[in-house]
């Protein structure tokens, strides 16, 4: 029957347009990002594959170990999806959590024609399983590059509560392209860690405006560290994913060589800038200090005018 299906798709799109990506759970993001009812989960919560390492710390487990992986459709075409739950253990990579993404990427490499969407929401390595988490990230980075070499498009979406930190930031740097929203953050060391190690003069972790200027979605978009900026709705990320899937080209040595040039130029151009505002001003943005307050649509126009992307050079 087509009538009820259409109704479900319409309802889903309406919900996607009004649902904050930042506020939504990983499961809700997946449900609303993909075509209605198309998602099939692999090793879901009913399999109860929990972390074997939390008991010793007397910590609660989650049945899916904080990541949802599976397959669905995006505008009719098949995609693999992995979505981290940023509220469970900070979305951090543990042994089981990481292995689910590794397996998904290895399958994608073999199939070659189905892209992978990674919805990052992570503080990095899960400390209670630090060695396993770090290794999982290393294996995921390798698996992303092997998949991309086989022709797979790997798109990262970043806009959750835990941001994309630590090893997550390194995996993001391996993706074919990235979409980011205002609440999204991408970095290696977190604000508190920098402050603890180097002092508050180096980085005041409680200065939210500083954190967002340095690591946040708008800055990453203007720097060219992310290719597309979206408003904080699931629909926005769905549109961004579709846009990037249409734009991303094949991976090869030329991309790495172009990235070497891109990053060298960035260092040369902005290596002595003290703050993001200096970088934005150097990019030719007048009233750079107003960038954080720009609404999404105005910011997107501005960013597109500046024109930095990295998808052909990453």
């Amino acid at each position: 029957m087509t009538a009820p299906l259409k109704h479900a798709a319409q309802l889903s799109a309406e919900r996607a347009q009004t649902t904050s990506f930042y506020e939504a759970s990983a499961r809700t993001r997946v449900e609303l990002l993909l075509d209605s009812g198309s998602f099939v989960e692999f090793v879901g919560p009913e399999k109860r594959e929990v972390s074997p390492h939390l008991k010793i710390f007397d910590l609660p487990e989650q049945f899916d170990d904080g990541i949802v992986v599976g397959r669905g459709r995006l505008d009719g075409s098949p995609v693999f999806v992995a979505a981290q739950e940023g509220r469970f253990m900070g979305g951090a990579f543990g042994e089981v959590h990481g292995a689910k993404l590794t397996g998904l990427l290895r399958a994608a490499r073999e199939i070659e024609s189905i892209p992978v969407l990674i919805l990052f929401d992570t503080g990095g390595v899960r400390l209670q399983e630090a060695n396993a988490g770090e290794l999982a990230i290393a294996e995921i980075m390798r698996a992303v590059m092997e998949a991309r070499t086989a022709g797979v498009k790997v798109i990262g979406l970043i806009g959750g509560r835990s941001g994309c930190y630590g090893g997550g930031g390194l995996i993001a740097g391996c993706c074919s392209a990235l979409a980011v929203s205002e609440p999204g953050r991408i970095a290696v060391s977190g604000p508190e860690v920098i402050e603890t190690n180097r002092g508050v003069e180096e980085f005041d972790s409680r200065d939210r405006a500083l954190v967002w200027r340095t690591m946040g979605g708008k800055h990453r978009r203007l720097l060219g560290a992310a290719d597309v900026f979206t408003d904080d709705t699931v629909q926005g990320f769905r549109d961004a994913a579709l846009e990037l899937l249409g734009l991303v080209g094949a991976f090869g040595l030329d991309k790495l060589q172009a990235e070497q040039v891109r990053l060298t130029d960035r260092l040369r151009s902005f290596g002595t800038c003290r703050d993001a505002i200096d970088i934005w001003a150097a990019e030719g943005i007048s009233h750079a200090e107003t960038v954080p307050d720009l609404p999404a649509d105005q910011f997107i126009s501005l960013a597109n005018k500046i024109g930095r992307t990295s998808r052909d050079a990453r």
Binding site: G37, R48, D58, P60, Q62, E85, F88
Partner: protein, 105 residues
Amino acid sequence: MEDLSFQHRARERAGGTRQTAIIGVVASGNLEVLVERILSDAECRLEIKTAAVGFGEVWNAVIVDFVERYSPGGLKFSINDGGARPDTVSLRLAQAVRLIEEDDQ
């Protein structure tokens, strides 16, 4: 951590055709509820792993209330709790039942 287990008779079988549903996230003040339609029509079981130790009585009261109101016959609830308040627990249990009572797509 503390493990708790509860068993109840329900008035009638929970509606709908879905076999499993999941709601919630394990975090401070929150919980996840995995519900599976695997028991006989009048049976209901809840198995809980909770980070808040010593609240068995409170769980009992919340669950008795829940079973009475929703009649979740045939359902097994498996819960990982990060120390949620009773009203959050009630909310999640209700959400879980509502989800599994939907029809399969």
